[in-house]
Amino acid sequence: MLLSIENLHACVEENEILRGVSLQIRAGEIHALMGRNGSGKSTLSKVIAGHPAYTVTAGGIHYRGQDLLALSPEDRARSGVFLGFQYPVEIPGVSNLEFLRVSCNARRQRRGQEELDTFAFEDHVRETMAIVQMDPAFLERSVNEGFSGGEKKRNEILQMALLEPLVAILDETDSGLDIDALRIVANGVRRLALPTTATLLITHYQRLLDAITPDFVHVMAEGRILRTGDKDLAMALEQRGYDWIDETNGSDTRQP
């Protein structure tokens, strides 16, 4: 078991957002997590990555048998947990190249690989950029500053490719992308999915799942996973909407 989430409860300030999430993810699997806005999908991803604004009040997360919640965010990243952000932040004045190098070396060091100097890293990153068809000119720019939505998302996939995570969580990486950008991102994700790694795709749309076939589809509502199925569940959702899930599960989870 790569990632095991058991009865996870979490709140931000006084509001409970996660109300007992359980999810098991094995190596080689691709999971899709769907659900309305506000159902807790992004919160789940941030709690896994260790965002300080969220407090876990019950339950836990184990990563390769280890208590993940005991680790700092940077330790989680170094040991192979990756979160692709829905809204990557801009960092003015910090060159993308330098940021990627420091980040990549932090992960390499943990894996016992030698750190790459500026020149070696630049070769490495240029090769990797081809996966997401990104122009090397983006290396010279400040991290995400002035990037379009699609460029920011590609930069996230580039980071994922450089960090070679064991568990990659992509939070609405497909939102706001045009068809071409979506294909590039989906190709990147597919190429990086290995028998030793697992992917959790948070998405609203079937179109990403047309390009990447998930092994499991989960539907979240009100801070819990209400339904789990295979790719057909996503298809059914696409056709019938979330109301259908609400109806088949009783009306208590329905939102106004």
């Binding site: 990555a49 260790g50 965002h51 300080p52 604004a53 700092s72 965010p73 940077e74 989680r76 990243a77 170094r78 979160l83 952000f85 990557p88 932040v89 960092i91 003015p92 004045g93 910090v94 330098e98 940021f99 420091v102 980040s103 932090a106 992960r107 943990r110 400040s142 980071q159 960090l163």
Partner: protein, 480 residues
């Protein structure tokens, strides 16, 4: 980890340059009156014009009051409790480095400024100033081949009295302000640079100021003259030992640029800033001004200010020449209980003169950081332009940042633009970097150096990396 906690840990590194050198010094007793001014002048065997300069300044100083308009709080300075002349005892006028006291050479070695022939910084000539007295200047010969004069102020007064008499006090008049008047009366030494017509100075020039004494005031005087079409890049570095008491540092720097000349003056200031409770540290009251005297002349100030308990400093350019250019790029970082009131003055006199001010203030701990700047457009400054940008970054929730821009325009065809912003290190930026495996301390210094990038890009290559490191070091312990 929260950003506040992250900031907490960044502040705990000891100051690396806090040691004291044991060396025999020649000191006069504390206190200041006219006889002390005469004594300093006679100890330095100065010509009459210098003695008159000092006496006039002293007389002016006595009629002046210490300025109180800055946003700074400190106990009253007792000017009679300061030693006004202190010099390391060594042979007169060292002809070569072999004659310099080894303890002094060792001091500069420890500071990372090797002076000896074999270990010198390549392509940087250094004037080493210890307790306001110049002890050695490297590469003098090589510079002389190009006609460049780089020596201590004391030597300049002896060897080039006509230049000193002509230019000293021509940019910062003796009665300019309280601290400048005091400096003019009692200054001990400093650096002198003269670049003749048409000469591009072949190497970086640098003065390294080291305070060693705990009760002597520090009063250096720097004068740089660039003749027509001459250019020079000059860097000033500063450190001091850690004492529980405060030391007064009141320097004056004057720059003169003639037609088509350019002077770039960079400062990496790392005086001792006091401990985390605000005990000790340097009181830095400095007057720095450049005169763009000639047409198309250019003066650029770049400063990275990290030390001092108190900073009172407003480098400026008087843009007298037609189409002259003044620039000011500054990073001022305050931490613990440091206070800084600093900014630029751009005085536009000549038509078509242009100036740029980029100021980045970073306040951490319980510190206070104020930008105070003046842009003045005189009646002749037709078509003159200024652009000012003042950005403040707050780290933690106990620090303060203020911006006080003063804009005066007597010329309707002059343009003044001012932009200001304040930001925090956001939790989301910090988390983003952490989620990529970067530790909070490294993340904060990455964010801070990104914030300062525009200014670091202006520093001479050799020192940009150093400035980056210095900032990281100063911030250590502000994240936890």
């Amino acid at each position: 980890m929260s950003s506040a906690a992250a900031v907490e840990a960044l502040n705990k590194t000891p100051y690396r340059y806090g040691f004291v050198t044991n060396i025999e010094t020649e000191k006069i007793s504390k206190g200041l009156d006219e006889s002390v001014v005469r004594l300093i002048s006679s100890k330095k065997q100065e010509p009459d014009f210098m003695r008159q300069f000092r006496l006039k300044a002293y007389a002016q100083w006595q009629t002046m009051a210490e300025p109180d308009w800055a946003a700074l709080r400190y106990p009253a300075i007792d000017y009679q409790d300061i030693v006004y002349y202190s010099a390391p005892r060594q042979k007169e006028q060292k002809a070569s480095l072999e004659e310099v006291d080894p303890a002094l050479l060792e001091t500069f070695d420890k500071l990372g400024i090797p002076l000896s022939e074999q270990k010198r910084l390549s392509n940087v000539a250094v004037d080493a100033v210890f307790d306001s007295v110049s002890i050695a200047t490297t590469y003098k010969q090589k510079l002389a081949e190009h006609g460049v004069v780089f020596c201590s102020m004391g030597e300049a007064i002896k060897d080039h009295p006509e230049l000193v008499e002509r230019y000293l006090g021509s940019v910062v008049p003796i009665g300019d302000n309280f601290f400048a008047a005091l400096n003019s009366a009692v200054f001990s030494d400093g650096s002198f640079v003269y670049i003749p017509k048409g000469v591009q100075c072949p190497m970086e020039l640098s003065t390294y100021f080291r305070i060693n004494s705990d009760d002597a005031g520090q009063f250096e005087r720097t004068l740089i003259i660039a003749e027509e079409r001459a250019s020079v890049s000059y860097l000033e570095g500063c450190t001091a030992p850690m004492f529980d008491t405060n030391q007064l540092h009141a320097a004056v720097v004057e720059l003169v640029a003639l037609d088509d000349a350019s002077i770039k003056y960079s400062t990496v200031q790392n005086w001792y800033a006091g401990d985390e409770n605000g005990k000790g540290g340097i009181y830095n009251f400095v007057t720095k001004r450049g005169l763009c005297k000639g047409r198309r002349s250019r003066i650029s100030w770049t400063q990275v200010e990290t030390g001092s308990a108190i900073t009172w400093k407003y480098p400026g350019c008087v843009l007298r020449g037609r189409d002259s250019v003044g620039e000011f790029y500054s990073v001022a970082l305050t931490n613990h209980h440091q206070q800084a009131d600093t900014g630029a003055k751009m005085v536009h006199i000549g038509p078509g003169s242009r100036s740029t001010v980029i100021s980045k203030g970073i306040s951490s701990g319980h510190s206070a950081n104020s930008y105070r700047g003046l842009v003045h457009m005189g009646p002749q400054a037709r078509g003159a332009r200024n652009f000012s940008q003042c950005d403040s970054m707050l780290i933690g929730d106990q620090a303060a940042a203020n911006t006080h821009p003063y804009i005066q325009s007597r010329q309707p065809e002059a343009t003044v633009e001012h932009e200001a912003s304040t930001c925090n290190i956001s939790e989301d930026q910090l988390f983003y970097l952490q989620s990529r495996g970067i530790e909070p301390e490294a993340a904060v210094s990455m964010l801070v150096s990104g914030f300062c990038r525009d200014v670091f890009n202006q520093l001479p290559m050799e020192f940009a990396a150093e400035a980056d490191k210095l900032l990281a070091l100063k911030l250590e312990g502000s994240v936890g």
